[in-house]
Symmetry: C3
Subunit: 200 residues, 3 copies
Amino acid sequence: MFYLLDLLGTLAFAISGVLTAMNKKMDPFGVFVIAFVTAVGGGTLRDVLIGRTPVGWMLDLNYVYTIIASFILAVIFRKKLEKLRKSLFLFDTIGLGVFTLIGLEKGLDTNLHPIICIALGTMTACFGGVIRDILCNDIPVIFRKEVYATICILGGTVFFALLELNLPINIVYLLTPAVIIIARLLAVYYKLSLPSLERK
Amino acid sequence: MFYLLDLLGTLAFAISGVLTAMNKKMDPFGVFVIAFVTAVGGGTLRDVLIGRTPVGWMLDLNYVYTIIASFILAVIFRKKLEKLRKSLFLFDTIGLGVFTLIGLEKGLDTNLHPIICIALGTMTACFGGVIRDILCNDIPVIFRKEVYATICILGGTVFFALLELNLPINIVYLLTPAVIIIARLLAVYYKLSLPSLERK
Amino acid sequence: MFYLLDLLGTLAFAISGVLTAMNKKMDPFGVFVIAFVTAVGGGTLRDVLIGRTPVGWMLDLNYVYTIIASFILAVIFRKKLEKLRKSLFLFDTIGLGVFTLIGLEKGLDTNLHPIICIALGTMTACFGGVIRDILCNDIPVIFRKEVYATICILGGTVFFALLELNLPINIVYLLTPAVIIIARLLAVYYKLSLPSLERK
């Protein structure tokens, strides 16, 4: 079930990449690469930094197939995706929760400090979008106005707080993405965003 | 002979980096770094993602010497490079073929799935240029109008088709770059390019 | 003492990241990430390329704490940092010397050729700034007009020259950053910079 949610998140991230790349008038190869890095770029960066190589998607082809399918679907239905906006937003939010949890888990597996694990969770969920924006020659959107990353950090903190309480690991694994998903839905509902730091 | 073609491709890629960087009015250090990443950036990314570290150019100094020589030659003869345009295009095309083959080979060595090997071949040949464009603050040219990458994917597919036919490995190693080189020459001759995907 | 200078350099690099990011009107998360990559991006790239993973800052939390402290201090005192310009420039220059030395040392540890070690020293000291500029959507400043990197290459060359002279290692470790620091102070004092390479 967890694995399916992971692939659902991959699908949503890949489609968001397709949409961004098409807005930049890229050719099919460019659109595919952007879809790819949006979906697995965060996890790839995490794997490289902790030394888990070959990186994840090279060993589990299901991610690659999911991205290829997302690419084809998004290109074919590109004029109708607007109508799926709500579903896509929901899948994207599920991806945010699941990807953060996967990053936290890999950090624990590698015996890293909780602070580093939280950084890895946030990286897994958010840095695919950062790489997408760099390849599209934009300043990463999560550096400017999104609470996206802050919610992942919150989720990571909740994760370690729950572990401290000695809750069963299954419960912790369910609650962490749930907290992230609920926090993001609330943030979007109440239009929360971080203020920019300027030197007036 | 194969190794010499590899260094010839490195030379052509490095010179293309020098030209791009000079158009951006960079200083000599910037020009050198851009030449360097254009030439070995794709292979470096590949090595990092599959975990072959220290990466290739750190262990075989001939790449570094070739790039230093290309840098010096390109800077000295910068006003005359226009006349060498055809030779440079030929070397660049040889590089495309040889680099793709090297990427395919490293993927096989690491026991990765054919799809991943093809991705590694394409990455080796094309992503030096992607890193060059990012460092120069441009949207990567191969995402917009080049058939460059598509030809590498074609070459990789041919490679595995030939392996399936149980052709001797030497023949496969000769035919794969040949197919890529011919496909590119044809593509440029007939001015082929991929259409951009837009949401009208 | 050496370790303290390293953290002082980290502090100066992080603060320079905070200032750059605030000029781009980023939100606190963006400012923090930019501070982080400016401070440890060069060393992270080095560690990834030579295969020392998990990368340095994941194993020694003092870098993370230093960056968090720099971030908080720089944000709180953001309107008064102008007055500390000279101190910050000094810390930054110390960082340049110490970071280069650390890169040289890791290269030697990994049994790499002196040319590669010098590249690693320069990368450690200078490429945090390169990653910062890419994330901020600028052409890296050290590719355009800074002698910054050239001084690191000079420092690396001096390092191996001193080793050739069979000087005690402690003396070499003291002289190398000293040469870099003095060279930079002189370069800034005499307003040296590299000419840009243009094709007239």
